[in-house]
Symmetry: C2
C-alpha cells in the first residue's frame, strides 16, 4: 500500500471500529488472524502473482496454474501449515485447480462412503498427494438427475472384479474438474450390475493414469472438454471427458460403507443408515454459501471503492464533479448488495453450526432434523449463489465502462463464480426440492406433526394467515419483530396458496409439475425469511466494538427492506402488508442508505482483502485508479509494436486501394 | 445442414407457416431475401469461419479480425454490394471490428456535424476507406457527462489552427473502438477555447497516423487499453487510449455545421438548429434497439433448441427422460424471453418509422415531437439492452452446465453484448432522462399542453387515476384493451406519485436527486407500456400466413402478462389491478405457455439464423448436440498432448514426494 491514500477522507468518515468489524466478518479472532497472515503470505509471494492471467493462452494458463499449485503444496509442507491454514492458502491463491476437487470432493467422498478399511488404504495416499483424485459423476447427457447416469460397473464373479464401461456417447463422464489432464484416480459413479440386476448408482475408486508415465491406463480415454466462459476463470481447470472401455477394477474398490457386493456377487445393504450421505451434502452446500459471501463481498468492495473515486456530473462553479457513490440510484443498487454480503456471511456461519448439529444427531441415530436441514441448505445454496452471480454482474455495471476491462477484476470474478448456480444442484431444481419439503410440512400439520428448525413458523399458521403487520410510520420498519412477521406471513401464505392450488389436482405429481413456477417462488420467499431471521438472530448476540452493532443493524434493515421492496408484489398480493406500508418501507430505505453512505468504505475495508486477492485496479485499497489503469493498458501484447501485426497484409492494401490485387 | 434432423418431430408440431413468419421477422420480403442471401454467403466462406475464436490469443485474434475485415471489404467490392448488403455482410461476419466505428460513428458524425464543404472533402475518402476513422469522445475520467470532457482545442489565430491537447491524465481519450491500432483519423471531441473563453465541447477531425507508415503523428501517443470481458468478444476490437501533446490541425477541421470559429477567432452559431444533432442520437439508439432483438433472439434460439434436445428426469418404465422444454419452470423462464425477442423486434421496427418521421419534421422546422422522440428512444435503448443482457445470461443458465462451455456460443454472446448497457448512454442515466421528461409532461398538463406520441396517454390522467381493470376471468387478460389499460394506469400512477413526492421538496433538483430510484422505476413502467402497446398495434395490421397472427397474439399476451407478473408489486401498489386479477393473469400465463410449447422450435427457426451465425453447438439447427460437443472438445490446445506441458516439472515431483528438492 505505497503512496497516497486517495480514500483517506472516506475512511475518516467511518462511525465504527473497523478493526472490530474485521473480527465479526472473519467469525473469530483466530479466524481473522489465520486469514490475515496467510493472505499476506500469498500476496507477497511472486509465484502467486496473477495480474497476467487474462493475457495467457490456454496452455500457458494451465501450466501456470500447475506451477502455482506445486508451489502452494511446497509452501504448505515447508511451513508445516495446519489443515485450516493450507485451505486458506489455496483459497487466496485464487485460481481453480485440480487440488480443489482432490481436497474438496475426492477425499470427502472416500471419507463419507468408504469403509474404515478403505479409508485406511486410500486416505494416506491422498493426504500426501501420492495419488491425485477427482469426482467423476456427471456425464455428457446427465447432470441433475444422478439416478439417470449410464456408466455401468458390472460385477464379474469369475475374477472378483468390476468392469467399468461407457455404453453410449451420452454416458461419457463430462465436466469433472481435474479429470482432463491431471488426476491419477477418480471416484466414479456408475450403475452397479450384479447377477444381471441393476442396483442403481454407486461410487467406485478407479485408477485413471499410470503413476509412472501419467498415460491413461488401457481402456481409458481422457481429454479436456475445452474453453469455458471468461478469460482466465475456470480455464485454469482441466474439466474433463472420460470414456471407459471395459476397464477392470478389484471388487474392494467399490465404496462399501452403505452397501456392498459380496465375493459371490450378492448386493447387500450395511447397517449404516443411507441418510449419512446427506450429511456430506449439507457440508458441501454450507461451504458454497460461505463462498457466496466471499465472492459477493469482493465485488462489492471493488464497486464501492471505485464509486467513491469516480466522479461524474454535478460540478458546480468549476469544482470537481460528484462522487458517483453519492447518487441515490447508485446507492439503491450498491448498498443492498453490501448488506447481502453481510447477510450471507452470517447465514453461512449459522449453517456451519447446523452442520455440526446434524452430524451430532446422526451419530446419535437421530434423523428427525435431517430433511429440514437438507431442504434448508439446498434452498440457501440456491438463493445465495443466484444473488451473488447477479450481484457481481451488477457491481460490474456499477463501475460503468471501466468495469468491462479485465483489469477491473470483475469480468473474471463473474465468470469464475457463475457456475456455482449450476454445480452441486441446479438452482431451480433445488428450489423445487425446498418447495416439496414445504408442501410436505404443510400436509403433515394436519396429522399434528410439529415443524422443526427453519420451518417452525409454519406451526403458527393460524396466526400468520390473518395477522396484520404493525407499521404506521417509516421507522416502525426498523423493528425486527415487524420485519420478521411480514416475512413469515408472506412465506406462509405463499406456501399455503400453493398447497391449496395443488389440492385441485387429482394427480399430485401433475399438480406439482403444472405449478412448478409458483412453487419455486414460494421456496424463495421461505429462503429469504431464513436469511433475514438469521441476520436478526446474529444481532441478538453480544457484539463488541464501537458502533459495530449499530452498523450491522442498519445493514440488516437494508437487506430486509430491499427484499421487501423488490418482492413487493408477494407481500401485497398475500395481504401481508399494505400499499401504504410498502411505501413507508421505501422511505425508510432511503434514510438507511444515507446512514450507510459515510461508512461504506470502512464497511468494505472490514472484509480485509489484500489488493492481490481483489486483483482489481478499480478496487485498489488506495484508490489510485487512473494512473494504474493507464500503466496496465500498456502491458497488452497488442502494444508490443506500434504498428500491429497484420497491418501490412490486411490494412494497408485497403487504405491504398490495392485490395483487388491483394491475396487474403 | 447435413445428416439427420433430430428436431424434425418438433418442427412437425408447428401450427403456423414458418416461412411467412420469417418475412414478418425480417420486416419485408426484400429484407428477408437480402439477409438470407448474405448470411449464406458469409457462412459458406471459409475465411469467415469463427469456431476457433475463443482459442486464439489476443494478437492472433486481432490479426484474424483484420484478415476478415479486409476480406469482407474485398467481397463487398467484388460483388458490388449495395450499402444495405454490405452492412448485412459486416453484421453476419459477427466480430466487432474497427469498421463498426468507421461506418457507424465516424461517417455519421461527419454527415451530421460537418458542413457541406467538409462532407465533400472527407466523405469520399471515408467511403473508399482511403482513411479509416473512429469516434474519440470518452476520456479516462469522463464517460456519461460529455460536458465534462477535458481535452482542449485552443484556437491560435496566428496560424489559423486549433491546438489539440490533453491537459491531464483523466483527459486521455479512452475506449474509442478502432483507435488503438488501426484508425488513421478520428472525430475528436474537445473543449473549444478561443479568445481565452471556453465554448464547451465541439467535434474536430484529427489525423492520428501517417498514411505512409501508419506511425502516430508527432505529439500523439496511442495504444490499446487491454483485455476486456470474454474470450473472443470485444477483444477483436482495438479500443484505444489517446494522448495529445499540443497537436495542431487546420481551423477547417472543426466540424462546423452548427457552430463555427471565424478566421479571426470569433465563435458563432450557424442558423442550423442545434436540435438536428439529437436526430442522430435517435438514429443510433434505434439501431441499438434493433440489435437487441437480434442478440436476444440468438440466445433464445440456442436455448430453445437445446431445451428440446436435452432430457433430464421423468423417465418412466425405462423410457427416455423428459425434454427439459416440457418443464413449466423452463417454460416460465424461456418463453417470456422468446416473446421479448419478438416484442423488441416490433418496437425496433416502429422506432425506424419514428426516426423517419422526426427527420421529416426537422426538415420542415417542426421540433414539436423531438423531446418526446428523444426520451422515447433513450428509454427503449435502456429497457431493451438491459433485458437482452439479462436474457442472454438467463438463456445460458437454461442450458445448464453445457451453457458454460464456449462451444455453446452463449458466453461469447453475453460478453460481446453486455457493453450495450453502458455505451451510448448508461442505462440508468437514460432512465432518469425519461423520468425528467415524464415529470415535465405532467407539470405541463396544468398549463394545458397536450402530451404527444408515446406520452399521449398522460392526457387521460383523470380517467387513468381512478379506472378499474375489467378482468373477471383468466381469459379476459387476452383482451388488448384490458392489458393496455392496466399498463397505462400503472405507468400514469407511478409517474403521478413521483410528481407528488417531488412537490414536497422546496428544491426540485434536490427532490429529483433524492427520489431518483423511484423515478427510474416510473420510467421503466412507461417504457414497458410503449413496448406492449407497439406489439398490440403491430397486431392490428394485416399479417398473412396460416396461423402467423395467432402465434404473435399468443406471444404478445405472454410478453404483457409476464411483465405484469414480474412487476406485480407496481400494479398492486398503484391499485391498477387487484390481487385476484394478478392471480388470474398468472393462470392465463400457464395456459399460454402450453400454447407456445408445440410452436417453440418453429418460432425460433423463423429468425432464420445460420449455424455459422449462431456459432453454438447447443443451438445447431439439426439438434445433433452430443457428438459435436465431443468432437469439439478435442480441438482444445490442451489436448495436443496426452501428458500436459508442466506435468514433469510440477505434478510428477508432487506425486513422487520430491517437492523439497524441486525447483519451482
Amino acid at each position: 500500500m505505497e503512496g497516497v491514500d486517495h480514500l483517506a477522507h472516506e475512511r475518516n468518515k467511518a462511525q465504527f471500529d473497523v478493526e472490530e468489524m474485521k473480527i465479526v466478518w472473519a467469525g473469530s479472532h483466530h479466524a481473522f488472524e489465520v486469514s490475515d497472515r496467510i493472505a499476506r503470505l500469498v500476496a507477497s509471494d511472486p509465484v502467486f502473482a496473477k495480474d497476467n492471467r487474462t493475457r495467457l493462452d490456454r496452455k500457458e494458463l494451465f501450466k501456470n496454474t500447475l506451477r502455482k499449485t506445486a508451489h502452494a503444496w511446497k509452501r504448505i509442507i515447508e511451513l508445516r501449515l495446519t489443515e485450516e491454514e493450507a485451505s486458506r492458502l489455496r483459497s487466496f491463491v485464487d485460481e481453480p485447480a485440480f487440488t480443489d476437487l482432490h481436497w474438496g470432493m475426492f477425499v470427502p467422498a472416500i471419507k463419507g462412503q468408504g469403509t474404515e478399511e478403505q479409508q485406511k488404504k486410500w486416505l494416506p495416499l491422498a493426504y500426501k498427494m501420492q495419488i491425485i483424485g477427482c469426482y467423476a459423476q456427471t456425464e455428457l447427457g446427465h447432470g441433475s438427475n444422478v439416478q439417470g447416469l449410464e456408466t455401468t460397473a458390472t460385477f464379474d464373479p469369475q475374477t472378483d472384479e468390476f468392469v467399468i464401461h461407457s455404453p453410449t456417447l451420452t454416458s461419457f463422464k463430462w465436466w469433472p474438474g481435474g479429470l482432463g489432464k491431471i488426476s491419477t484416480h477418480a471416484v466414479v459413479y456408475a450403475r452397479l450390475i450384479t447377477d444381471g440386476q441393476d442396483y442403481g448408482v454407486n461410487g467406485f475408486i478407479v485408477q485413471l493414469r499410470s503413476l509412472d508415465d501419467h498415460l491413461p491406463l488401457p481402456g481409458i480415454t481422457i481429454g479436456d472438454i475445452g474453453m469455458k466462459f471468461g478469460n482466465g476463470a475456470y480455464n485454469t481447470m482441466d474439466n474433463g471427458v472420460l470414456k471407459f472401455d471395459h476397464v477392470r477394477i478389484p471388487r474392494d474398490q467399490m465404496l462399501m460403507r452403505v452397501s456392498q457386493v459380496t465375493r459371490d456377487g450378492k448386493y447387500v445393504q450395511s447397517n449404516v443408515p443411507r441418510q449419512l450421505l446427506y450429511g456430506t451434502m449439507v457440508y458441501v452446500r454450507q461451504t458454497i454459501v460461505s463462498d457466496a459471501s466471499v465472492a459477493l463481498s469482493r465485488a462489492v468492495c471493488i464497486a464501492t471503492r471505485y464509486s467513491a473515486v469516480r466522479r461524474q456530473f454535478g460540478s458546480q462553479n468549476g469544482g470537481p464533479e460528484s462522487q458517483v457513490i453519492d447518487y441515490k440510484t447508485q446507492q439503491a443498487r450498491l448498498f443492498p448488495l453490501l448488506a447481502s454480503a453481510y447477510a450471507f456471511r452470517f447465514v453461512g456461519e449459522w449453517l456451519k453450526w447446523l452442520y455440526t448439529d446434524v452430524t451430532q444427531r446422526l451419530q446419535a441415530n437421530d434423523f428427525s432434523t435431517l430433511p429440514e436441514a437438507h431442504a434448508c441448505t439446498a434452498g440457501l445454496k440456491s438463493l445465495t449463489t443466484s444473488a451473488t452471480a447477479d450481484g457481481i454482474e451488477e457491481c460490474r455495471k456499477l463501475c460503468g465502462g471501466h468495469g468491462y476491462l479485465c483489469s477491473s477484476g470483475l469480468p473474471e470474478l463473474f465468470a469464475v463464480y457463475v457456475p456455482a448456480c449450476t454445480y452441486e444442484g441446479d438452482n431451480i431444481v433445488l428450489l423445487l426440492q425446498v418447495a416439496r419439503h414445504l408442501m410436505k410440512t404443510i400436509s403433515q400439520l394436519q396429522s399434528g406433526k410439529k415443524p422443526v428448525g427453519t420451518t417452525a413458523y409454519m406451526g403458527r399458521l393460524g396466526h400468520l394467515m390473518q395477522c396484520k403487520t404493525d407499521v404506521q410510520k417509516a421507522e416502525d420498519w426498523l423493528k425486527p419483530k415487524a420485519v420478521l412477521q411480514a416475512f413469515e406471513a408472506r412465506a406462509a401464505r405463499m406456501s399455503v396458496a400453493c398447497a391449496q392450488n395443488l389440492s385441485n389436482f387429482t394427480n399430485p405429481e401433475e399438480g406439482f409439475h403444472e405449478l412448478a413456477a409458483d412453487l419455486a417462488e414460494a421456496a424463495v420467499a421461505h429462503c429469504q425469511l431464513i436469511v433475514v431471521s438469521k441476520f436478526i438472530e446474529k444481532l441478538q448476540q453480544d457484539i463488541p466494538g464501537k458502533g459495530v452493532k449499530q452498523q450491522l443493524e442498519i445493514l440488516c434493515s437494508v437487506y430486509a427492506l430491499f427484499l421487501l421492496h423488490k418482492h413487493q408484489g408477494d407481500f401485497l398480493s398475500t395481504g401481508s402488508i399494505t400499499s401504504r406500508q410498502s411505501s413507508l418501507a421505501n422511505d425508510q430505505l432511503r434514510t438507511l442508505y444515507s446512514q450507510v453512505r459515510p461508512n461504506a468504505i470502512a464497511l468494505v475495508d472490514a472484509f480485509n482483502y489484500t489488493d492481490h486477492y481483489l486483483s482489481s485496479i478499480l478496487g485498489r485499497y488506495d484508490g489510485n485508479v487512473y494512473p494504474k489503469l493507464y500503466e496496465e493498458a500498456w502491458k497488452d501484447p497488442l502494444n508490443d509494436s506500434v504498428v500491429p501485426d497484420g497491418y501490412q497484409q490486411y490494412v494497408r492494401p485497403m487504405l491504398k486501394q490495392q485490395l483487388r490485387n491483394a491475396r487474403l
